[in-house]
């Protein structure tokens, strides 16, 4: 089972190294890891997808907390959250196949961002599964190049009254 951890860390040199070193040292499997700035310049945000069939995600979470530069960790796997992946896919095309490819782009609500005589680059954003299946259908045309950002996630907004039980329990993990 994949677990999605949203991790806020201090924006300081070497912090990514500390996080990745922790995963290496304890043999935790990372499926994807993204890092980016946030609304606060002192804080960076990581979305880490771990394979929790081999590692208890709670143990990963607690070990992340042990790092001095880790401010907050939240396992959003079972929380209402927006989860997105972005892919750029360069597909081989020729006059015979181009319209069929463009048709698929429409169905998947992708965007063509570059057109060349024998290929197009498609940008697609969405849930991981959607991108997986899009890649699957493009395979018959021949994929020249593929890049994905890895998952990013954000918890959905909620009214002030409801505090999900899971989130309350997680606050203990300092």
């Amino acid at each position: 089972m994949k677990h999605v951890l949203v991790c806020k860390v201090e924006n300081k040199p070497g912090v990514l190294n500390r996080i990745s070193s922790l995963f290496r040292r304890r043999l935790y499997n990372i499926d994807s890891l993204t890092v980016s700035p946030t609304e606060n310049p002192a804080v960076s945000r990581m979305t880490i997808v771990v394979d929790a069939t081999r590692t208890d995600a709670r143990i990963v979470e607690r070990n992340l907390y042990k790092l001095v530069n880790t401010i907050e960790v939240k396992d959003v796997t079972d929380l209402p959250a927006v989860k997105r992946d972005l892919a750029l896919i360069k597909v081989h095309t020729n006059p015979d196949t181009r319209s069929e490819v463009l048709n698929l782009v429409d169905i998947f609500r992708g965007k063509v961002v570059d057109v060349a005589p024998s290929s197009v680059i498609i940008e697609l954003t969405g849930e991981v599964k959607k991108i997986d299946s899009f890649i699957e259908v493009l395979k018959e045309f021949g994929i020249a190049e593929l890049v994905r950002t890895g998952l990013v996630a954000m918890e959905r907004g909620r009214s002030d009254k409801e505090v999900p039980a899971v989130a309350a329990a997680q606050q203990v993990n300092i």
Binding site: I59, L67, I71, V172, I174
Partner: protein
């Protein structure tokens, strides 16, 4: 007034209450050494930087204060790694200050440049490189804060040479330290707390598992309060020894691979384990699948990542074990568990009969005899600093420790060579205490250069070498599990007495049981350090032994010997 980084470093250490550092100078740390003499701080010059980390570690274990190490860049800093890893595993508060090449040449493979923060990342609780002298004071302060609080550990601060020479105004902040990602604190959800009390009050066959956390958090009185009120027997981890006096009626002894057989049986038969400041290391649990199968488990520890790591527990309480015990105690009911205690006593009587050496002392010297006699000669009052291996286990079994911080030993990492330098730190931290090193002939030779430090610092250490001409514990594993193929375990040793004499250290060779106590008593009278070379039998094994990964109750027991003699008599 403007001060240099080097001056600021020492000013900070003084404000953190440091009066001794263990170190070794070199190019990149020279500015710091140059100004050191102006400050009221004792510097202990070791013979190898590993010795400095162990000395600071021993100092910290003996006093409860943070130990401080100073080393230069490159090889000086890489030599710290073993000692840092050792302190990390056993949660010892340590500050390592390392020089680094000047900022301008970092990354250019300059002379004696090593990526020290990179190298030490996994073996420190946290580390820093200071690239701006204006951040030096706050960094040192944070380093001490992190090393001492929560689950303690080593923190390294790497200071480039030019930062030691740069000048800035010195101001030591005194406001509370706020680190956004570091907030160790005790949070006990009420439900967990109530469940713990319910389990304790309802247990028929409870056992307390007391670890290093009891000693580090100063919870000795609280532990005693709990177990006396609720009449619960206590099993100790290696590092928990001294957490309850060995002579206490509820102290059952050490648990685990070489623990008392009776204690391991009690754990397997228990209906409740109360784990206090310990981490269910594989050396104390044996096979996790069959560990204490009938027991509910309560785990109280300051490190959240330890809960449910190895053993799944019914109640996990995150917090300082002393604070948590203080909260628990009023709710724990007074109880009489004499039936359960009597059962453990029966096992104890039977296993002591069998496990305590039944060797004939005539003409031969056995390590267990040496340890028991040293216990007698020191009236059980010494601080013992043991090394790693067979002698360490025999020490834990046969030297009866009554006080916390009276046994200093490398637990989690099992670092051979720890004892001699750690004893230097312990003696400096507790100058009035009688400090003994007990080391095997293998481990002693890993750091024997520190004899020079002992002499230079005029430290009256008592050094007992358990000399069996073998790497004994490895030999034992080869005997039990590798069909007696003694691959690379026999040692050809120097004459340890002559070696000691070369350093001007008084030395005695002992190879008969009847000479152990007189020699120990003579060594205690020496004005200065003394070394005792105990030449013991090599064909000897530590019993009982839970083979690695076996069930805790599945112990290899000492084959019975024809001539029985009770060692403790």
């Amino acid at each position: 007034m403007q001060q240099t980084g080097a001056e600021i470093l020492w000013e900070c250490l003084l404000r953190e209450g440091v009066d001794v550092v263990f170190g070794y100078p070199g190019g990149a740390i020279l500015p710091a050494y140059d100004t050191m003499t102006q400050y009221d701080i004792r510097h202990v010059l070791v013979r190898h930087e590993q010795g400095a980390t162990h000395a600071a570690d021993g100092y910290a274990r003996a006093t409860g204060k943070a130990g401080v190490v100073v080393a230069t860049s490159g090889p000086g800093a890489t030599n710290l790694v073993t000692g840092l890893a050792n302190a990390m595993m056993d949660s010892i508060p340590l500050i390592a200050i390392t020089g680094q090449v000047a900022k301008g040449v970092i990354g250019s493979d300059a002379f004696q440049e090593t990526d020290v923060t990179g190298v030490t990342l996994p073996v420190t609780k946290h580390n820093y490189i200071v690239t701006d002298v204006r951040e030096l004071a706050s960094t040192i302060r944070e380093a001490f804060h992190i090393a001492r609080t929560g689950r303690p550990g080593p923190v390294l601060v790497d200071i480039p040479k030019d930062v030691q020479l740069d000048r800035t105004g010195f101001h030591y902040p005194d406001d509370p330290i706020e680190l956004p990602g570091y907030r160790p604190r005790t949070i006990v959800p009420k439900a967990d707390f109530e469940r713990a009390i319910e389990l304790i009050n309802g247990a028929q066959r409870p056992v307390v598992l007391a670890g290093h956390g009891i000693i580090m958090s100063g919870a000795v009185a609280e532990l005693r309060g709990l177990v006396e009120k609720a009449d619960i027997p206590v099993a100790l981890t290696l590092l928990g020894i001294g957490g309850l006096p060995a002579s206490h009626r509820l102290c059952a002894g050490m648990m685990g691979m070489h623990g008392e057989a009776a204690v391991n049986h009690a754990i397997q038969e228990a209906d409740l384990l109360i784990a206090l400041g310990m981490r269910f290391d594989d050396r104390v649990t044996g096979n996790l699948k069959t560990y204490a199968p009938g027991a509910h488990k309560i785990h109280i520890d300051i490190d959240p990542s330890e809960l449910n790591k190895n053993v799944k527990v019914d109640v996990g309480i995150i917090g300082d074990v002393r604070e948590v015990l203080r909260e628990l105690l009023p709710h724990v009911e007074k109880a009489d568990r004499s039936l359960w205690l009597a059962r453990i006593d029966t096992w104890l009587a039977a296993t002591r009969e069998r496990d305590i050496l039944h060797h004939d002392p005539q003409g031969k010297l056995w390590t267990a005899h040496v340890i028991v006699d040293l216990w007698k000669a020191t009236a059980g009052n010494a601080i013992i600093v043991s090394d790693v291996g067979q002698h360490q286990m025999w020490e834990a079994q046969y030297y009866r420790h009554e006080e916390p911080r009276s046994l200093i030993t490398s637990g989690g990492l099992g670092t051979m060579g720890f004892a001699l330098p750690a004893a230097i730190g312990a003696k400096i931290g507790r100058p009035d205490a009688e400090v003994w090193v007990i080391a095997g002939d293998g481990g002693f030779q890993m750091t024997l250069g520190e004899l020079g430090t002992v002499v230079q610092e005029k430290l009256p250490l008592r050094i007992a070498i358990i000399n069996n001409g073998f790497l004994g514990m490895v030999r034992q594993w080869q005997e039990f599990f590798y069909e007696r193929r003694y691959s690379a375990t026999p040692l050809v040793n120097p004459d340890f007495c002559k070696l000691a004499e070369a350093y001007g250290i008084a030395a005695f060779r002992v190879d008969r049981r009847e000479d152990v106590i007189p020699a120990a008593l003579r060594a205690r009278e020496v004005n200065g350090p003394a070394l005792l070379n105990f030449v013991v039998e090599s064909a000897d094994s530590v019993y009982p032994m839970v083979p690695s990964g076996a069930d805790l109750a599945d112990m290899i027991r000492r084959p019975s010997q024809p001539k029985a003699q009770e060692v403790h008599e």
